[in-house]
Symmetry: C3
Subunit: 138 residues, 3 copies
């Protein structure tokens, strides 16, 4: 049994759902652990992580539009010091979640056929984002 | 310390919240691990997992109705190739989540009195679903 | 590798988001584990856990107001035996989540600068709440 930990860093370019499955797969391969669980943790309160359908970009666009209606930028928020996209970003991050846990075996994530690992960026302007990866297993 | 991994398989019969606590309890008992964390991971993008009140079926019906209002089948979605219940299913899966992590001790999940482990099926027609269980502990 | 498990107990005083980062930090320090993952699990179906912005109380108030609009107390629910705040509490718990997983290194949680660990209490009257902490690592 061992713990392997690392960080993926991203420079963002506006709101969106971005597939990071291949970056995570490469990191897990280098960890050399065979069986266990991988935890991804996004160190921010206006960007998150989610498992999403990876085949049709229309699914990702529908999710973004739906989040946009559910936590709209135009609503009245008390907290608006950092611009109109900040408070909706906090709410959308709560909905998508800050962390993911994915099991792995044979040194590969046990994702289903249509599942991808996505980061969800909810701020309009560019940010540097860090995602901590922790694999625990054999 | 050890990792034990397995899969529960289900044939679905329409949308619903289904209590799988006893199946998970049996699996954990067979793992023979005493103390640690159990991760459940649903390998699909239109079905999820959640902790839900286990005493009153009315709670489960209220949750399903509320999800039905929040991500209605009748809304306009760009992605509708697989039928009108597909895109709402992706959104409802994001809300209920794809994974659960439950601590255990004495070879039993540390669920509260009113907590059950439920799978949330969001598609109308029958599907085969796989949930990966990974227990890490002593 | 080792598993360390414990429980934090809270007496609640109405609905709210309450920062418990320092209680969790103290518990993790006493575990003496250096690197791994910490899982927090709330043993209730009307109270949850979330990562939230820790700098501005206005963010927490905006989140509570938004949850109040999304799952309002005034809506028609089938389940209302335990008072009008009970069923909305179950729905809000689903949205905030029952569990959190946070990586740690150097015996400290790898939270981002603006991230705090909050418990989300959704019931009006006082309750005793238990949060199970499980650290797995080296």
């Amino acid at each position: 049994m061992a713990v392997i930990q690392g960080v993926l860093k991203f420079e963002t370019a506006g709101q969106g759902l971005i597939d990071i499955t291949s970056e995570v797969r490469v990191w897990l391969a280098q960890s050399r652990l065979i069986t266990g669980t991988l935890t991804l943790f996004c160190r921010h309160t206006s960007a998150g992580l989610l498992i999403c359908e990876n085949a049709s970009p229309a699914v990702q666009r529908d999710i973004l539009r739906w989040l946009g209606r559910l936590a709209p930028q135009e609503a009245q928020y008390e907290h608006d010091d950092e611009g109109p996209d900040d408070m909706p970003a906090h709410i959308r991050t709560m909905l998508t979640g800050s962390a993911l846990t994915v099991p792995f075996a044979g040194n590969r994530m046990l994702l289903g056929t249509w599942q991808g690992v996505f980061r969800a960026e909810h701020r309009a302007r560019s940010h540097r984002r860090e995602i901590v990866l922790t694999a625990i297993g054999e």
